[in-house]
Amino acid sequence: MKDITCQVLVVGAGPGGYVAAIRAGQLGLDTVVVEARRPGGTCLNVGCIPSKALIHAADEYFKLREVAAGRRTPGIRVAAPEFDLAACRDWKDGIVNRLTNGVAGLLKKSRVKTVEGWARFRDGKTVAVDTALGTQVIRAEHVIIATGSEPVELPSLPFGGRVVSSTEALALDRPPERLAVVGAGYIGLELGIAFRKLGSAVTVVEATDRILPLYDSELTRPVGHRLRELGIELHLGAKARGLAGGPDGAEGALLVETADGGELRLPADKVLVTVGRRPLTGGWGREELALDMNGPFIAVDDRCRTSMRGVYAIGDVTGEPMLAHRAMAQGEMVAEVIAGEKRAWDKVAIPAVCFTDPEIVSVGLSPDQARAAGSEIKTALFPFQANGRAMTTEAEEGFVRIVARADNHLVLGLQAVGAGVSELSAAFGLALEMGCRLEDVAATIHAHPTLSEAIPEAAMRALGRALHI
């Protein structure tokens, strides 16, 4: 096969890689992107998008069940609903297909060449790709590493058989009768709650003493409350020790060492292990490159440059937070850096959203983080119980919280927990990135009746003049 020579080579077409490739193409750079699977990476194929489809379906089904049982929305009467996960999965796959085809189309429109196959670096400027047609060698002036991350495997619970990662969990054709989730991070709880709503008996095992360890307890309390309401069994401070009856789990139970040292056998048809993700830094020839590392991640500077000239890295492989929108922003920036534009990473905040029930969104610093950073702060929260829109949608649990510097009222952080609050991340992010003060947020008209009214109310409360509480 004839070698390809190009200006920009992107390894990995996840959210970071495909955005970098599109932007590089738009800027007139001769760009090639290598991807072993469909474009879109973990996010589009086995992460954000399919899980949100499953969560939506589970929510809709669960609502109907609640309505049918007379527990929700007085005035509506329906017969008991039924759920067909296989049909739902086909719908979900359809969405994934539309999106990945869309990405492929965008790449083509930006005159980016896509090479399908697994890439291995030969040196800092050359990769060999195992394609269906043989080995394709690509040489580039600039290389962007966007290899992403993969689920962490527990030595005591290797993936396979009953033990699944989020990827397999999203491809099941029927909800497991008994699902054990190991790890109460956002992925485990999002999927655990969804399967509970689809009818599975769900047990969550978490090694630390709290759920969602990345968020403060004020934010996670409503989620913990909801877990109890949904009948999800939670074991905190408990360690998953393996499957009863050996690696194949013949006895169908998860062995758990509880906080008090006792042993527990949790019957489980599936064991979903969601104990985090790790950067994918092996298997593509990193050892051929002299890249400085930052712990398990590839070290990059504020322009996503690695320690090798002309080699860049973006996305999960470069560090926390491992979020698609961070990767996309890095991808857009790094393409412009390569094109010679003056760009550097100067973001104030990266929003983080957790699609549990209720949802959590956090942008910027929590009160504790702000204090730890040495700021004297003003903070206030506004509960949705005092919000008309929340009442009319039968979702009064949760609040909006604002954190600001005490001396000049600069907003340092905005958080919320509640149904549908993920959409508030837009207002939160804008407020932080624009350098808003409490007074700016308080003085912006927010439409009535919406959940967003809680944002200026929280700001006003921090200023000591809330209106609706």
Binding site: R343, D407, L410, G435, R437
Partner: protein, 426 residues
């Protein structure tokens, strides 16, 4: 509900008025009994005024920097029980204004009927919003919208160099325009730009005392400054030896206690140096007691704690008293008595002591001894240069009453004592 008036108490012997240097409360604050309301500055010491009762502040009696007479009202509190004033005499200011049609009414508060207008300052506005554009803290990242950041990067401007005029010090497009307009010489590259700002700092409190004191000294006293160098090699060896062998409870010795003792010995021979010159009365008071003021830097400025009766203290006694006093002065806890009454002064900047200083005499004293830095210098011993620890003494005298000859004799005597430290102990 009653009203309680807190008057400025007698804050020190013979003090008729004090300067307000700090309010610790604002109108509307709830204060507990013994909470600090304000700080006032007398001659040298700051005095905190506590609240004798619990209540809500409704009126503050002065602006910072104002002189307040002892016994005049300082704070009015609304208290839950009966106050200490009859209800009728409360200033009309905090009564609700019964003219709703007049929007300006709250600003046009009538003065209390019982007092002339000048003595009744209007109630202070509530605390100004602390938020009004507080500047960036050192090390804070510049505050600017993404669009401004992008433009700055494009123009090669480091936003840390740009002044933000917006709220909370936010850098606006206009600020960036102004920065770029300031000229290519100033903008990129050097990071240097002219600063034509003028910051007004009100000279209050201790700073004002010092300013007045210095002006008085320099305008009244005809200074003569005499400098000579002292070989302190032997003294430093002795000092190191004594510090190595010091017993528990003994203070670590610096050079100052030795100097104090040397001054005591020199003064015994020249009592005219240890004196106050009352130039208005035309009288010199020569003191038997040697009360040595030691100029010390504190976070708020210069204070001079006084080691009383150095003639009655040995080297360790001088050191211990000096430690006690300078700790108290640095903590702001020195009493007025401990900061006054000196008859002669030592000024020392330690490692910052430099080569020569021209000390200003602490009026009405007639002499001040300045200690410069100890340095190893080559000294010609008659056949070769040898390294010796040398220290200059820069001493000023009131030339109206001390002749140059006497000044020189005094300094030479101290020099001899310090160079042969055994003599200090004889």
């Amino acid at each position: 509900m009653g009203e309680y008036v807190i008057k400025l108490p007698d804050v020190g012997e013979g003090v008729a008025e004090a300067e307000l240097v700090e309010w610790n409360v604002a109108v509307g604050d709830v204060v507990r009994e013994d909470a600090i309301l304000a700080s006032v500055m007398t001659d040298k010491a700051a005095v905190e005024i506590p609240s004798p009762v619990e209540g809500t502040v409704i009126w503050l009696g002065a602006e910072i920097g104002e002189q307040i007479a002892v016994g005049s009202p300082l704070v009015r509190l609304e208290v839950s029980g009966e106050g200490n004033v009859a209800a009728g005499s409360a200033p009309a200011a905090e009564k609700p204004v019964e003219k709703p049609a007049e929007p300006e009414a709250p600003a046009a508060e009538p003065a209390p009927p019982s007092k002339p207008p000048a003595a009744a300052p209007a109630p202070r506005a509530t605390r100004p919003p602390a938020s009004s554009g507080a500047p960036r803290r050192e090390g804070d990242r510049p505050l600017a919208s993404p669009a401004v950041r992008g433009r700055a990067r494009e123009a090669g401007v480091d936003l840390r160099q740009v002044r933000g005029s917006g709220p909370a010090g936010r850098i606006t497009h206009e600020d960036l325009d102004a920065f770029l307009e300031a000229g290519p010489a100033a903008a990129p590259g050097t990071g240097l730009r002219p600063d034509s700002s003028v910051t007004e700092v009100k000279v209050i409190g201790l700073r004002r005392r010092i300013a007045e004191k210095m002006a008085l000294s320099k305008s009244r006293i005809a200074h003569i400054t005499y400098v000579d160098e002292v070989d302190v090699t032997a003294l430093e060896e002795l000092r190191a030896q004594l510090n190595r062998q010091k017993q528990d409870g003994q203070p670590r010795l610096t050079i100052l206690p030795f100097l104090m003792r040397a001054m005591v010995k020199a003064i015994a021979e020249q009592p005219a140096i240890n004196a106050h010159f009352d130039d208005e009365a035309g009288v010199i008071h020569q003191y038997g007691g040697v009360h040595i003021g030691i100029a010390a830097q504190t976070p708020t400025g210069l204070v001079v704690p006084v080691v009383k009766h150095a003639e009655a203290r040995d080297v360790w006694g001088c050191a211990a008293e000096l430690n006690r006093l300078s700790d108290a002065a640095k903590a702001g806890a020195a009493s007025r008595d401990e900061l006054t009454g000196s008859t002669i002064t030592i000024t020392s900047l330690g490692a910052m002591g430099g080569l020569v200083t021209t000390p200003v005499i602490n009026h009405p004293e007639v002499a001040i001894v300045g200690v410069n830095k100890i340095q190893v210098r080559p000294v010609w011993d008659g056949s070769q240069f040898v390294p010796r620890k040398m220290m200059n003494l820069s001493s000023s005298f009131d030339h109206r009453v001390v002749d140059g000859w006497d000044a020189a004799v005094f300094v030479q005597r101290i020099k001899t004592l310090l160079e042969t430290p055994a003599m200090i102990f004889m």
